[in-house]
Amino acid sequence: MKCSEIEAFLIDYFSGELDSMHKTELERHLQECELCRKEAEELKMVWESVVSLPDIQPGADVNRRFYEQLNILKTAEAEAHAEQRAGRILFNQRTIHTCIRTAAVLLIFFAGAVSGYLYNKANIRVSAEITDMQMEIKKLNRLVSLSLLQNSSPSSRLMGVEWIYKLDYIDSTIINALITTLEDDPNVNVRFSALDALSLITFPDIFRIRIIRSLDQQDSPIIQNALIDLILFYGDKRAVDTFKKVLKKDNLDLYIQNKLEAGLAMLQ
């Protein structure tokens, strides 16, 4: 083994990942070459120092906070499941009523259609095609929104949020996409626009926790301001910890600081 080759093996040697053949070769070279030996010894000394850095104990508060958060999540998930179950029961009851009504409507429609069929065959075909097209457009709107929200251009992502207003219904995928935009989008205008849309939507409690937590991720006072308003509108006491955490930030805007303090007083 040459001096120029040992670098490639030293890193595996230190971590114990070097195979026995290369290890023997490397050790032989280190015995013979004083320069390489000195370099390897010094590097090993630093390596071992980092390896033997002692464990530091986190504060006792870490455990308490974790179990508190876990309880909040469990409650939120239980509530979300309860809502889903309630939604399903309601859906079942509605379905029965809807079926009866639909059958009656269909009967009338069928009678009308048969009699009208001979009278205006062409008009019915056109009407069915229009309904199909409207359904397709609705599906397309949803896809366009989600796709635009993932675009690399901020103006496209802004447009993605705008498209959401065109949708007939908002499901958890759309809410999730909006919250992810609020949490992660690098552009402040896009984040603000997503927040604006979220403020108009009613959604399960589990999403509210994410919105509360996202306050800690925001560095723009405009977003912080609007987000605090929304959280205070919820009146959710689980925001207390997040408010306190944000208040500890060094570079916090004075207006936001006052608003958070006032908000804390309201929530507590």
Partner: protein, 181 residues
């Protein structure tokens, strides 16, 4: 129960089991973040974030590879997210607890000084270099695991690790010389 078994239980909806994973891993995770940030409060917050994400994304857990690799992939992503945020890196405070094993006052002083110099030297590496070194030395992970966590080739990780240890040695020696003057 292995970590994998517990994680599968969490994935199935028994999120109470996350407590077991927290008890097993929170101290090492805290130390991982603390070695990277030198900030106790930030590190504690990031540990909380890891377990919240673990619950939030539990359905993405497939059980391929080691659980620790998956856990530290979450930790790595959280650390990356934090790079975007400007936070003040506090001066490292070498606490007595780290040198609790020292027998005499002299040993404790020496241990404190060495650890402090090493921590200061570590903080002079780039974020990436520091993370690779901490994962490979302090966390004793294999290079292929680190490559998986950081989403790059094993060769690149080894190359960066070697460069980092060389740089750390140079900085550490320089700081030691300065301290002795």
């Amino acid at each position: 129960m292995t970590d994998k078994d517990v994680m599968f239980a969490v994935r199935s909806g028994d999120i109470d089991q996350t407590g077991i994973l927290f008890e097993r891993h929170n101290i090492r995770l805290f130390n991982f973040f603390y070695r990277l940030t030198s900030d106790r409060q930030t590190s504690e917050d990031l540990v909380q974030e890891v377990f919240l994400r673990l619950i939030r994304f539990r359905e993405t857990y497939k059980g391929n590879g080691s659980f620790t690799t998956w856990l530290y992939t979450i930790a790595h992503n959280i650390y990356i997210d934090n790079w975007r945020k400007p936070y003040i890196q506090k001066e490292y405070d070498c606490s007595q607890e780290e040198c609790a094993v020292a027998n005499t006052v002299d040993e404790m002083v020496e241990c404190n000084e060495k650890s402090e110099l090493l921590e200061r030297a570590l903080m002079k590496l780039t974020n990436e270099e520091r993370e690779i070194l901490i994962l490979s030395t302090y966390q004793k992970m294999k290079y292929r695991e680190i490559a998986k966590i950081m989403d790059c080739s094993t060769g690149r990780i080894k190359q960066r690790a070697f460069r980092a240890i060389k740089k750390l040695k140079a900085i550490y020696l320089q700081l030691t010389n300065e301290a002795q003057r």
